[in-house]
Subunit: 350 residues, 2 copies
């Protein structure tokens, strides 16, 4: 399933992008003056093959999982918060629920590996690879098979939502401790220094952050993930929800659906996806730039420029939901604005 | 009318802000993890005095005016584009119309000084101070009385829209040549170097930009605007639409209505407003950071941090319209999210 998905992913439609660019230059504004909104409209044309793609059917797919590495004391919150927050998502009370409602998007949770039994719920996709990863400071976080299984959970979730009707998707994450594997993935796949890409997560102090850096350093020395093998990196120091996010992105790219990549954890998933399919990068839209210091390094590595810089550090897909109306506005600009000829407006003096 | 408006402007409601901050800390997320969205919700509470202000009645007020300084060849477009674009606004074909529709906002144009006769239209407020300013490279752009008149045109427009129903407003501008007076205002009121705050406007080349710097330098040497007298600065090197924008901001602050300040020209208006009433700064929300190099200097001078950084350089209120849903989302977060107690989620480990 993973190989088939990767093989399905095709380049962006250059012809549609050229048409979008040509139309942008005829609209009643100085050429290029809508900056990244223009780029977004061109990217959406390249993804969907049309200049006016429908964007009404929106979903935020929040992948959840627990982390054995929390035993090392890397997080400010206890692991029990992961299932508690999943219930909060299902009850509509979390930040992502509020922001998704504002954006007209549904919220669907994927249990990729929460360390608790969760109730049946129409908005919860059960796909538990295991009840939490193993502690990567003492051995690999998961087996290679489990890594593939977590990615395929994301692909399957995307396919399920595609069948329900899906024009644009945002990735989201929930998993206490998950900035730790994300920093580890970032260090391995971008080559950046561990200290430089390790932040405060949900709010640890200086001393705890230094400890977190040491835990990651120990985990990387012990497990020696192969930077040329994204599945090995995911297996050695990753997380089930991070694998699922990579799968959501690959699945979206295979279906030619634009995918808003949220914060630090989602972008770790995007690094795995891009490693497996460089073409998938064309389908990614960076929603925001997080406070986590490694986020900028990851985004630059992927060639992604964020829509927002709002000092968010919550995850859940919050930045992705916020960005959905901006993407819709970019497409509306391309389709609804008058041209210089239509409006009888004089063009630039050459 | 101007003095009365300035005297009406009061500080933000500290008690409501404290309540908003306290509630943010009880919501099911790590404290501070929604970054500037949290700050926005607190600011909105301070502006309106309540935690859940209505935000449904939205308007973009686009002030338009022409500029005598275009005789110096400072713009890439001819002045006739100003009235042509006003007609485009009234016909619904411009970028601001598209983005305002996406945001559920009405667009209202103020003719503060367009150098052409404009038709009667329900969405056009006739308030022409004069048919364009004088060329400030040869003398003052306008008289002091005209400067006050332009500000009062903005206040009156805000009052008109307030009577129609208004919860949030964005400023916008249209005026070929208006980055030139905006750079001049920026240099005088922030003390920055002219070259550093003068950009390409709608798209001039390097040589034309150097000429634009020289025109501004000549205008400032000739007119010697008093940096301690914002009305003098507006009169000597400003524009009618820039005065009107200052008036919109002052009027909004007097009515305790949040005002999204758009790009470079709108922020020049905000500098004038802040000079007349430092308290008005509390009511301003910076929508985005423009490509114009002086914009960041102005925003830092005003203590404003932008929501978007999308390389926009169009004006019209486009950034302000884009930001309206973000402000609404910030307020929704404060009011609709579950608290730790509501949701039975464990709090941070102390």
């Amino acid at each position: 399933m993973l190989q088939q998905t990767i093989q399905t992913i095709a380049p962006l439609n250059e012809e549609a992008m050229a048409r979008a660019r040509a139309r942008q230059d005829q609209l009643t504004k100085p050429a290029g003056s809508l900056g990244r909104l223009e780029d977004l409209s061109v990217q959406l044309a390249g993804i969907t093959g049309v200049l006016n793609p429908p964007l009404a059917r929106r979903a935020v797919l929040v992948a959840a999982g627990d982390h054995g590495v929390t035993a090392e004391g890397v997080s400010a919150f206890p692991s029990e918060v992961t299932p508690q927050m999943v219930l909060n998502f299902l009850n509509g009370g979390a930040a992502i629920n509020v922001l998704a409602r504002q954006a007209g998007a549904r919220v669907v949770v994927i249990d990729a590996g929460v360390a608790a039994d969760l109730p049946e719920h129409e908005d919860l996709i059960p796909a538990k690879v295991a009840p939490g990863t193993a502690n990567f400071a003492q051995g690999p976080a998961m087996t290679r098979d489990q890594a593939v299984q977590s990615i395929e959970a994301g692909i399957a979730a995307l396919e399920r939502e595609y069948r329900r009707g899906l024009d644009i998707v945002a990735t989201g994450d929930m998993g206490i401790g998950n900035t730790t594997p994300s920093s580890a993935i970032c260090a391995v796949l971008t080559g950046a220094d561990i200290d430089q890409v390790t932040g405060r997560g949900t709010g640890i102090n200086d001393e705890a952050r230094r400890h977190k850096v040491e835990v990651i350093r120990r985990g990387l020395e012990l497990n020696r993930p192969d930077p040329n093998d994204p599945i090995d990196v995911l297996a050695k120091v990753g997380g089930f929800e991070i694998g699922a996010i990579a799968g959501i992105i690959l699945g979206a790219a295979a279906r030619r659906i634009p995918v808003l990549v949220d914060g630090f954890i989602s972008t770790a998933g995007a690094l795995i996806a891009a490693g497996l399919s460089p073409l998938s990068k064309g389908y990614m839209i960076a929603a925001h730039r997080s406070v986590e210091p490694g986020h900028q390094i990851m985004q630059e590595h992927l060639g992604l420029s964020p829509i927002f810089q709002l000092d968010l550090r919550l995850g859940e897909g919050t930045g992705g939901a916020l960005a959905m109306p901006v993407v819709a506005s970019a497409v509306a600009i391309l389709n609804e604005m008058a041209t210089f000829a239509d409006a009888g407006v004089s063009e630039k003096i050459e």
